[in-house]
Symmetry: D2
Amino acid sequence: MNSFGNILKLTTFGESHGPAIGGILDGYPAGIQIDLDFIQKELNRRRPGQSQLTTSRQEKDAIEILSGTFEGKSTGAPIAFIVRNENQHSTDYSDLKDLFRPSHADYTYDAKYGIRDYTGGGRSSARTTIAQVAGGAFAKLILQQIGVKIYAYTSQVGNIATAKQYTELDLTTTDSNPVRCPDPEVAEKMATLIQQTKEEGDTIGGIISCVIQNCPVGLGEPQFGKLHAQLAHAMLSINAAKGFEYGCGFEGVTKKGSELNDIFFNDNGTIRTKTNNSGGIQGGISNGEDIFFRVAFKAVPTLLKDQQTINKEGESIVFKARGRHDPCVLPRAVPIVEAMAALTIADAYLIAKTGNANQK
Amino acid sequence: MNSFGNILKLTTFGESHGPAIGGILDGYPAGIQIDLDFIQKELNRRRPGQSQLTTSRQEKDAIEILSGTFEGKSTGAPIAFIVRNENQHSTDYSDLKDLFRPSHADYTYDAKYGIRDYTGGGRSSARTTIAQVAGGAFAKLILQQIGVKIYAYTSQVGNIATAKQYTELDLTTTDSNPVRCPDPEVAEKMATLIQQTKEEGDTIGGIISCVIQNCPVGLGEPQFGKLHAQLAHAMLSINAAKGFEYGCGFEGVTKKGSELNDIFFNDNGTIRTKTNNSGGIQGGISNGEDIFFRVAFKAVPTLLKDQQTINKEGESIVFKARGRHDPCVLPRAVPIVEAMAALTIADAYLIAKTGNANQK
Amino acid sequence: MNSFGNILKLTTFGESHGPAIGGILDGYPAGIQIDLDFIQKELNRRRPGQSQLTTSRQEKDAIEILSGTFEGKSTGAPIAFIVRNENQHSTDYSDLKDLFRPSHADYTYDAKYGIRDYTGGGRSSARTTIAQVAGGAFAKLILQQIGVKIYAYTSQVGNIATAKQYTELDLTTTDSNPVRCPDPEVAEKMATLIQQTKEEGDTIGGIISCVIQNCPVGLGEPQFGKLHAQLAHAMLSINAAKGFEYGCGFEGVTKKGSELNDIFFNDNGTIRTKTNNSGGIQGGISNGEDIFFRVAFKAVPTLLKDQQTINKEGESIVFKARGRHDPCVLPRAVPIVEAMAALTIADAYLIAKTGNANQK
Amino acid sequence: MNSFGNILKLTTFGESHGPAIGGILDGYPAGIQIDLDFIQKELNRRRPGQSQLTTSRQEKDAIEILSGTFEGKSTGAPIAFIVRNENQHSTDYSDLKDLFRPSHADYTYDAKYGIRDYTGGGRSSARTTIAQVAGGAFAKLILQQIGVKIYAYTSQVGNIATAKQYTELDLTTTDSNPVRCPDPEVAEKMATLIQQTKEEGDTIGGIISCVIQNCPVGLGEPQFGKLHAQLAHAMLSINAAKGFEYGCGFEGVTKKGSELNDIFFNDNGTIRTKTNNSGGIQGGISNGEDIFFRVAFKAVPTLLKDQQTINKEGESIVFKARGRHDPCVLPRAVPIVEAMAALTIADAYLIAKTGNANQK
């Protein structure tokens, strides 16, 4: 259950304070040029310490590829990669040993497994998303070959949201500010809110929007491999995600069918739709229009202020987190959303090759 | 890709106008008492023709069990079931052969497969949810043994929503009105809206809320088998679903960590939380509190009014649906949401049996 | 665990005396011409009552296709099929209820599941191979498109074996005698042995050989999807199979590397090997030479003579089977071996489409 | 396709001359004491350089655990492990770049993937079995808890075979001679044959027998998860394996049902069989008797003598392997057979926990 994908399958491992985080990417097609710089850059986008708005922890997160490539290309063999943890033994975590931090996974892991790696989040740590980002970077290399582009960005932090549709934004500018919101004025307000929240020792959530452009027609497999169902699974596998919607989403429920239906037209020989309430997916299969979706992230639970909780014995205690933590995960979650989207689309792309006996 | 689940695996088949709809449920534990009446009743809840608010088509949807039970109990062998289609050859669908209905799966199926069963929706028909409901009914029988209860209900139709939390509602009354909303006054307004929409030849969407009570602690598998990720996958596998959120959901993104954190307390020896913004799942694993989530459904695209579209040749044409169709799928989707939830939870329950070497 | 295959996945169901045997074939590519006559003929090859050498039970084993085809072609949707059991309630099996027949699955099913369908074999009945043969027939239709041919035949019954290599035999004549051995003189001796064994109320085993010709180069996936490992899994899923070997097999263990190595040569632009001790598979991947393997089948345990055994209470009793049974399963197992081989190769063929980014 | 198992799933990676070999073991139950010495000892049994009979290459094969354990116990998180390759850049392999070594995977990898890691075997190298042995060692730790014992041994090399049944041998003495045959006199003859073969620059095959004792009743899942089918899949995933048989195997085909049937008897309250032609598995499910099977290994193709072959251009060339190679893989394959058996049984043991609703 630490695997994602059907043909292109990422299996991940690692705890925040163990020796390493990593994964194996199986089913990766042979012959793809492996751009290591690109992969490291994707990891750098996720890395802590990028700005005042994220945790000030400094980790290089340098990736090592252990297999599956030869002379710069993929060979069809599984690609394994690891990122060593540097801060492995830096802190004494014994005070966390017996207590259940509120809204963390301490209690549920303990109840399920009867044992828990209490050092810094263990397997439930957001640090494990390193493996998702690395896997996604490899998937992006597949998608680059067929021209697919994936753009995620922070569209809301707390109650500050951009009012613009993605079509009104220049999505190539997302990384130009630390919030990763391509609406610069809104980005500044978001930054201020995050800064304030940080000063309060508190945390704040938000929404990441994602657009997939130039996706081939025909990806997605009815009935339980619907493209949007797989995207939902992917997105809700990211730590702190609480919701997923695509196309007209939750807002669309108030609209009538006559308002939502996307009318087909003939665009010089290409079949297109005039509107895109479908979000690029119809009947679970991509239709060639932009795929877009939104993911809700809650405020992460690690607060730098006192909180009430209980310990294993059921005794009430007061707890306050130490160390450096993200007041808002959204900026660093942008590359994670893109990574999981890339894994989903690349997998669907490979599977689609098998479904039509008459397709060249 | 027509299978759902890991240990308890439902594989479905069937088209709306083929001979039958059905499925195979593999991994079903031996020794469960199979209550056929209960299973048929669940199918009846999904059946068309239940009220003025749903399609007036009349189909018995009688289930036949083909295997896997003996003397009223499950044997551990796969359970196969079929429901014959009665209206198989009732209509001439040749007018649909070459056109792409707006926001249906006509175009994407055609583009993906190069062939399409154009009679009444084929594999993309909502009628295929029969197999999901039947499979879910079997899953409910497993869950009954351990006391798990699943309650879905219509919480919003168009812009009419109940203002009450699920805790303020009597969820056992959901089926007492045709909308399946346990807030009777709101249900009446919803019914009126659906009736009006029907008269316009239009359709309307809404939201189904679902609560899972008495779920054992410890279900769900990090990292890609998180309970909420599997629920999201399940829900977005239902036709017309556009979004999923659990716990504090999309609304929670505006809240701070200090507002959202669920404080643990010792409830006479049971570890519980004072609030439940987590929605009963922490770190992807159930914590024993109520699991609750919401699913957005769009207005279905079949309108009894003229619509513009194109045919295979790319020529513009005007199209108007014939026959009897649901103006709003929410009432009939309630048992489908419950079914997919039951399959998800029962599967997670079985897997959880394998994860802890010291568990009795 | 009632599924076989990765992309092309057959899930089977059914007990010998339940309502029906059948399956769902998922991942079947769209656009394949579905020749129903061919599929029924394959089932007829497995059917009882074909000759004096097999059980005299008469069952039509008529297949009904429930989904996945339209206007004679596959649509990409899952193909479901059933074969009704005709003799469903013909006999009283209550005498089998509490006893464990020697070398049957009675005891193990009972111990595993705590319940057992004791009517005529239940899920462990050889009748369930109907679903394998039907699934394999569909797979053969895929393989016909690319010219792959699969020939299984009876090469040994008891201690009577053909001395000829498959290359010395006309494999198109296999069905011309009831033993399905394409060496007519040996076939007659085999028939005599089976007839004698039958008269003794006893049973006898044998070996089925199988050749796959014109298999594309490049099928099979290292490391755990090696083509021969999947064939072994397939063959040992057939009732009564006790062994599998391919290429030089068990006999080859006495040979030296210098005797076994298959020397490559350039056959007018095609890379071929002078010998074929590899059995057409090198490193788990097909190399374009004939794939050949052998499957050992034991004598089936149902004897028409007294046998000692015990009942559930552990009391000794004497038991004698009633009814009509096969004295030797080999003739009827020939189409089953072919079917499982076809499923394996067709699945590998589809997966191979995803593995090379530069392949047209 | 580099994964093995259903619940307990081993995914492997690595090439012989890449940075490392390793794997991820997912679904490993929490709470198992992880004996690292034991795991390293299992790897040492597979390591080259153990005796005159194996390759004289010296590699430490030291394992590093990267995740999934905490304070000496498994946590339920995936266990990742790596073994660094020491001889990574020791040799110039450019002479292998364009030629296809006879009966190696050079040609098939090249044809399938269009690219090949030609340094020392790449992904098809026997060195990759490190990951199988490591994974199997972890599986053995699970099985130790329930008393299951697995004994593999060399029962035949070339035409020298022990005449003794496993029941006549002391299986705890297997490792006391370099051939790993617990029949000391035969072991010496085997050693002499291997030594002679080595001096000829040739290689020789053989048979490994394996016995699994004290296996719980009820493991294995009809129909495609039959315990022996999964064992066959496991064994034929090992490099150079050409055949698998269990119980009466190929030899049993000459016997009649009345000779083969295993008669049940009541052994002081335990149901047992007087003989064990079934090999401990009936209907695909373990019956509590010893499980035993045999695996045929061919002579490996790397010869220290001239061989004819062709290069990529199809030109004939003469080729002679350099370096240090095993003249006979059997001794080192013994721990690999045990490892794959352990993975199979441990997986079946975990799955069996989910199949019976009334089992404690």
